[in-house]
């Protein structure tokens, strides 16, 4: 088979809710990607982009309408008996009986899991040991999230599916969770993560995919994804001066420029060269550039450009390392 070292292999995946034709809704449209062993792969997208719909297919909770999923070489839906003991998952919203304690919840789950960790070890992993005898209904939202993670980890899974694992956590608990996920990955666990927090993807992910309207529009490492987006320089044109007075923009490496109410924005892949040219010009002319601001693209910027509904600014001129463009710039 063509699996090689990939642990998750998705080809042409489709998921449709409701009947075929106009009345139904296709939440996942022709999604393909692979995740290698020990890799941490993040799936990003706005609400309704199809992240959870996709993850549920990978988890084997639903059957795809079309396409193929392989997890550890098996169909996670048809061969759930083979796949389930080797994977752990955390849903977007955990479900625990509110009148059980944390320890009782873990014990129940351990009884349902092959090769489960001891209850206190599982609680210790997520720093809930002290809260073991507290009823679930008295745990905070963040503590419940960590309890959920403990359940996902209880069977020492080879593949971990985490659907928004840090939503509702305070910053400290979020960093604890990141550390835990890093440790697991260091031990060889393959992790597929969805998240709303772009800094989380930037901090953890080896590779990521950004989804929009049910399709993967970009995949690559965080560096590649960000690198495809230009840096920006913004400043106010001094009174009496115009864009035409600047040195030829092409020579400065400027990809495109915009002017709104006297404020100029230049986009460039060569921030240092463009900025130097601009500053030398300003010095020679004895000008002060008010509100000067220069920055490289962030994942957030890339994300907003890609995942946002509007036409991405400048995207049509970028190209390069990232396998962009299955429909970027459409609509």
């Amino acid at each position: 088979m063509d699996i090689g070292d990939s642990v998750i292999d998705v080809t042409g995946l489709r998921r449709r809710y409701g009947p075929a034709g106009g009345k139904g809704f296709e939440a996942v449209r022709d999604v393909s990607f692979t995740v290698g062993r020990g890799e941490l792969f993040a799936l990003l997208g706005t609400n309704g982009a199809g992240k959870t719909s996709t993850v549920e297919l990978l988890e084997g909770l639903a059957r795809p309408t079309g396409g193929r999923v392989r997890v550890l070489g098996h169909d996670p839906y048809a061969e759930r008996r083979v796949v389930r003991p080797r994977v752990g998952m955390m849903l977007q919203e955990g479900g625990f009986p509110s009148d059980l304690t944390a320890a009782e919840t873990v014990r129940m789950w351990a009884g349902c899991t092959t090769g489960a960790r001891p209850v206190d070890e599982a609680l210790g992993l997520v720093k809930l040991a002290k809260r073991r005898d507290v009823r679930v209904k008295q745990l905070s939202g963040g503590e419940r999230r960590r309890l959920d993670l403990a359940l996902a980890l209880i069977g020492r899974p080879e593949v971990l599916f985490l659907d928004e694992p840090t939503t509702g956590l305070d910053p400290e608990a979020r960093h604890d969770t990141w550390e835990l996920v890093r440790r697991l990955r260091a031990d060889g666990t393959t992790v597929l993560l969805t998240t709303h927090y772009l800094e989380e993807a930037e901090a953890l992910a080896d590779r990521l995919a950004i989804m929009r309207e049910g399709q993967v529009v970009v995949t690559g490492s965080p560096g590649e994804v960000i690198g495809a987006y230009p840096a920006r320089i913004r400043f106010a044109m001094p009174p009496g001066w115009f864009v035409g007075d600047l040195p030829p923009l092409g020579e400065l490496g400027v990809l495109r420029h915009e002017e709104t109410d006297g404020r100029i924005e230049l986009q460039t892949h060569e921030l240092q060269r463009t900025l130097t040219g601009l500053l030398v010009w300003a010095r020679d002319k004895g000008l002060e550039l008010d509100g000067l601001d220069a920055r490289t693209a962030s994942l957030e910027e890339a994300f907003l450009a890609i995942a946002g509904a509007g036409a991405p600014t400048g995207a049509s001129e970028t190209s390069g390392a990232v396998g962009t463009n299955t429909g970027r710039g459409e609509r």
């Binding site: 909770l61 955990g94 479900g95 625990f96 009986p97 509110s98 129940m108 789950w109 351990a110 349902c112």
Partner: protein
Amino acid sequence: MTTTRMLAMGRAELLLLSRNKMALYVALLLPAFMAWAMRNGISKIDPEDAGMSVNEIALTGAFGYILLFVVYQNLVSSLVARREELVLKRLRTGEASDVEILAGTALPSVAVALAQCVVLLVAGIAWLDLRAVTRPDLLLAGLVLGLAMSIALAAVTTVIAKTVESAQLVTTPLMVVSLMGSGLVVPVEIFPDTVAEVCRLLPLTPVVELMRGGWLGGMDAGEALRSLATALAWTALAVFAVRRWFRWEPRR
């Protein structure tokens, strides 16, 4: 492994039952209370028509109360509660199969129901001078089918309950129909023939008839087969409906 998983879920469910005072009261005391309360009613209606003593009617009818209150009603409440708390959805992400999840959740109810049936038999034979069990095979068949049917009907009933509060309400139709027409309070033999025939088609009637006939005797092969067939048909129908319509997560 199946057993381990079901025991783990059953144990958690038993803890939850022990922490829910109302459900505990219903499960442990209501069947006995109903049997005692209905006994007074039965004594007024000349049970000789049915060929049974007041105690015989009351005690064998109690099998029906056990199935209704301990298994059916209790399980509807707990399944709806687990569904609305997303517990069922979460359980389905694990190794347990759908059948194991339903069976594991039903385990404490089934255990309590079995214990009560044993108490009923012992109490009836040892203290109330009822005869020893005549046809254990029919009694057992009735019990097993009754449990399976009650679990499946409970699962089907959860489909129309949106909240834990409405779970009590949606159990009412089957409860009322069964109490009136399935021979729990008064044996169906007492009704006019056509009414009795209709009553024999109700889901719980064949179960109660089998258990009653199994204990007290007086059931010929034709009656036994007919009851078995009716009970099996209802169970199969309920299982089909569960597979078709059961919801594992709240309606969005």
